[in-house]
């Protein structure tokens, strides 16, 4: 015999209000997850920060205009002509220039950090999208069909996993043309980074998806679909993959910070965003020469990268906990 549950237990299980007598509403998976997520303060804060970043990226020019700052104009008068350091303590921080100034040319750091959110997010989000789409397609085909198909696709996956992406990107970076397909230098650089990062990073996700699909394909609903005459394509993309929504969402939110760091690496090494546009990695690269005499110049973009990556990581963790609390234990 089943043990009768108390009203409170029943309420907690389906997320209904605990006041006795109130109508119990059915809650969807998403609603349940959202309620769980709401309780995780850290994940909420991280999510809010990410939202803020996206808004900053979209409205960067508006924000800079409102502050009266420009990321590319020189303020030679605010820099000491002999030592080339910003005049004033803490790297030239003041009300007019809240993050201080760049040495040598006096460009405002607040405007440059704000502007730099765009390339970081664009590359990270777009490259992640490419990466996930490729990973899902290849991983699920390999997992579902098995046999020769799986064998070949898995070997291809192994090759791409072993590829030294950083070296390849540096090599490509030095031959990127200044203009192509109607895009200026900036557009071409971003497009190249997105395409190359996406094409060479899908292997990890493909492996994960393949494993999940393998475990799902023996389930009854798949057999049922097959018996009803559904073709493999429909089974994979309409039956199996939607069940993988949670892990896919989590992998996506964890791939984004990795790509942010990758974009920063590339700009640091000089193959990312072209002159004179700002990017956090490029600021870090310039700051290395000055860290002994103007540490602010290194701290500001460093903090920006750190906080962004941290936010995405914590958000991803929170998302995973909310969607499937038993995973990861």
């Amino acid at each position: 015999m089943t043990v009768p549950k108390t009203a409170a237990d029943a309420a907690a299980e389906v997320g209904a209000p605990e006041t006795p007598g109130a109508r119990i509403e059915g809650r969807s998976l998403g609603r349940i997850a959202w309620d769980r997520f709401k309780r995780d303060k850290i994940a909420l804060i991280s999510g809010g920060f990410i939202l803020l970043l996206i808004l900053v990226a979209i409205f960067a020019d508006v924000i800079n205009h409102a502050m009266g700052l420009d990321p590319n104009s020189f303020n030679g008068g605010l820099v000491d002509p002999g030592t080339l350091l910003p005049i004033g303590a803490r790297g030239g921080m003041s009300l007019a220039h809240p993050f201080g100034l760049e040495p040598v040319n006096g460009r405002d750091l607040f405007a440059r950090v704000v502007w730099g959110v765009r390339p970081s997010l664009i590359v990270a989000l777009a490259a992640t999208a490419v990466q996930m789409i490729l990973g899902i397609i290849i991983g699920s085909i390999a997992g579902y069909f098995g046999g020769w198909t799986d064998g070949i696709l898995s070997r291809i996956t192994d090759i791409f996993l072993a590829f030294p992406i950083l070296i390849f990107l540096i090599a490509i970076g030095s031959i990127i043309p200044s203009r192509a397909f109607g895009l200026g230098a900036y557009g071409v650089h971003l497009a190249t980074m997105i395409v190359v990062i996406g094409i060479f990073s899908w292997a990890y996700q493909a492996r994960l998806i393949r494993g999940l699909v393998l475990s799902l394909r023996e389930r009854e609903f798949v057999d049922a679909a097959r018996l009803l005459g559904a073709r493999p394509g429909r089974i994979i993309f309409r039956e199996i993959v939607p069940n993988l929504a949670s892990p896919i969402l989590v992998y996506t939110s964890l791939a984004i910070p990795a790509n942010i760091v990758l974009e920063a690496y590339l700009s640091f090494l000089g193959v990312g965003t072209p002159l004179p546009y700002s990017s956090w990695g490029q600021m870090l690269s310039n700051a290395v020469d000055f860290y002994q005499v103007d540490p602010t110049y290194m701290l500001i973009p460093g903090l920006a990268v750190f906080l962004t990556v941290l936010a995405f990581n914590l958000f991803g963790d929170g998302l995973r906990d909310a969607l499937d609390p038993r995973a990861g234990r």
Binding site: N72, G82, L84, V104, L275
Partner: protein, 605 residues
């Protein structure tokens, strides 16, 4: 010659630099001038003393001199050297016919004195024949006698542009008769001395036959290409030709190369066959000289300020962060000097790239420059450059203080005048063009500063960055490449091959040196008949006063063509070690340290 800059690291090694500014003897504040010989050495340890006086004078011989640099010599074989610091360095092992006086700081540092020659060369009445006698009784480091034939042979090697001299100067091929001489390796004469432009009537005499008058010829004789090379050693395929490098180089100077690893280090020891009696110019104080050529720039700065390296030989100067630290710390500042490098930094405009064929569009660029920002990009007002408004640097006779394109009272650009010029050239709303720069060092900073300055008048620019090794040979010197990529503007710097107006202008402004496929060093492709005629007059002039006056006129004419727009005269902030003696900067080698004078105060003989 090309202005070399220290190669700044593009990938940051996380090197922790601990700069030890050890406070040794605090300099007493006595008003030490360089009055005669009775100067207390301790009084010379002051900021910038080395530009006008000898720092830490001493006659002490012996010890090991430790030199450091971030780049190797461009060539150990003297025939292929074109960097100023290589010319300076090779005096240790390659004695040239004429040389610059050693031990004479400041204005005296460009005094020409005989080196291998026993006296200054004499010219015939028509100026087409020059005669030089070399000292007798001189020997190479391998014991062989040095004769005039070895000097002639060395000069012949400068003609071998396909083998041993791909990158060095070619003055002899342009000045002497017999322009078709193919070099000693293809020489038909059995004794390899087939060059008709030079005669050797006896073992100590050389007679040069010039195709036209050349007043600066004694300066040409200071080139390392006049250092003798033993014919039998170089004719032997295993020790000569392209193998004549490192320890195989036979020395005619006070030291010889005892060890050499390319790109890493070199050691020199005394040449046993050199005698001080036969060489009044070289003090040759240390017994051994060790050279490390692959220093990281920041670590080299720290080593210099700590005293573990005596001097920097490559003229690179302190890195930006170390400049800031040194200027703010008196204990470090007194070990630094701030010489003028006698070189000009300028924006070069390619006339073949529209709309720069129109002189008013070029003038618009000249008025729009923000010279303060450009100088900051070069390293600031102390360690980078002083503001420049004409091409000739202050250290070359003929320099004027004119300013044909004033950039406003604060030197940040005269926007109104620039827009006026744009109206005149038919581009009232500006136009679009390309900037080419090197992708490392000061290149990116220069390009962004130029871009920001020109954007204010509506000239929009795209920046193309290329590697240093490809910057000149595959871009700036190639008119077809510049035109096809739309690169109207570029960064350039130039120092004189020798300190006269002709030595400065001849390679960069002579339109007759241009070819369809190469601009040489005349990147803007200037071909002004008035300029060419002034160059010819300077070339023939034997009076330094007349040369100076002609140089001034040439400067004015070049500026009026608005193809080269100068913005800075290079300066350096360079550190010296604590133990080095007889340290001073010489204008003969673009403000770099006179290596031949150096000694050390520590170490036993």
């Amino acid at each position: 010659m090309q202005r070399t800059t220290k190669i700044a690291a593009t990938v940051a090694a996380a090197a922790l630099v601990v700069s030890v500014a050890s406070a040794c003897s605090s300099s007493k504040g006595s008003s030490g001038g360089n009055t005669g010989t009775a100067v207390n050495p301790a009084d010379t340890i002051k900021f910038n003393y080395g530009t006008t006086g000898v720092v830490n004078p001493s006659t002490k011989k012996g010890g090991t001199l430790v030199l450091g640099g971030t780049q190797d010599l461009d060539s150990v074989d003297p025939v292929n050297q074109y960097y100023a610091y290589s010319w300076d360095f090779s005096r240790y092992y390659a004695r040239t016919l004429m040389t610059y006086k050693v031990g004479a700081p400041g204005a005296q540092s460009t005094t020409l004195v005989p080196g291998l020659a026993s006296a200054a060369p004499t010219a015939s009445a028509d100026g087409l024949t020059w005669t030089v006698k070399i000292r007798s009784g001189l020997k190479f480091s391998n014991g062989e006698d040095i004769t005039s034939k070895d000097v002639k042979y060395a000069i012949e090697r400068s003609y071998a542009v396909d083998t041993v001299n791909p990158a060095g100067p070619e003055y002899f091929a342009n000045i002497l008769t017999d322009t078709s001489y193919p070099g000693p390796y293809k020489d038909k004469a059995a004794d390899h001395l087939g060059l008709k432009g030079v005669d050797t009537p006896d073992d100590t005499t050389l007679v040069f036959h010039l195709s036209a008058k050349y007043g600066d010829f004694p300066y040409v004789l200071t080139m390392p290409q006049t250092a003798p090379v033993p014919i039998d050693v170089d004719s032997n395929p295993s020790t000569g030709g392209l193998n004549y490098t490192g320890t195989k180089v036979v020395s005619s100077g006070p030291y010889m190369i005892s060890q050499y690893t390319a790109g890493k280090n070199m050691t020199l020891v005394r040449n046993p066959n050199w005698s001080a009696a036969s060489d009044p110019t070289d003090p040759a104080l240390p017994n051994t000289i060790t050279v490390k050529t692959d220093w990281d720039p920041n670590q080299l700065d720290a080593a210099l300020l700590a005293g573990t390296v005596d001097a920097e030989y490559d003229g690179g100067g302190l890195q930006t962060a170390d400049v800031a630290k040194a200027l703010d710390n008196p204990n470090q500042k007194k070990y630094t000097d701030n010489p003028a490098a006698n070189a000009t930094r300028y924006v070069t405009i390619d006339q073949d790239v529209a709309p720069f064929n129109n002189i008013d569009c070029r003038k618009a660029v000249a008025y729009a420059l923000n010279k303060v920002d450009l100088i900051s990009a070069r390293g600031g007002s102390v360690a980078g450059a002083k503001e420049a408004n004409t091409m000739l640097p202050p250290g070359v006779p003929g320099h004027t203080d004119a300013n044909p394109y004033p950039t406003g009272p604060d030197n940040k650009g005269d926007i109104a005048k620039a827009k006026e010029e744009l109206q005149k050239c038919g581009q009232p709303n500006g136009f679009s063009t390309g900037i080419i720069t090197v992708n490392a060092g000061k290149g990116p900073g220069f390009a962004t500063a130029l871009q920001a300055a020109l954007a204010r008048v509506g000239i929009t620019t795209q920046i193309t960055q290329v590697e240093g090794s490809k910057y000149y040979s595959q871009n700036l010197q190639r008119p077809d490449v510049m035109k096809s990529k739309g690169l109207g503007l570029g960064a350039a710097g130039w120092g004189p091959d020798w300190p006269t107006g002709f030595g400065f202008f001849s390679q960069i402004t002579d339109g007759r040196l241009l070819s369809a496929t190469s601009s040489g060093s005349n990147y803007g492709r200037l071909n002004d008949p008035k300029v060419n005629s002034l160059l010819d007059q300077m070339k023939a002039s034997t009076s330094s006063a007349q040369t100076a006056q002609l140089a001034g006129q040439l400067d004015t004419q070049v500026m009026s063509d608005a193809v080269y727009i100068p913005y800075g005269y290079d300066t350096l902030l360079i550190a010296r070690g604590k133990n080095v003696t007889n340290y001073y900067l010489t204008n003969a080698y673009n403000g770099e340290v006179d290596l031949a004078a150096l000694g050390t105060s520590v170490g036993s003989s």
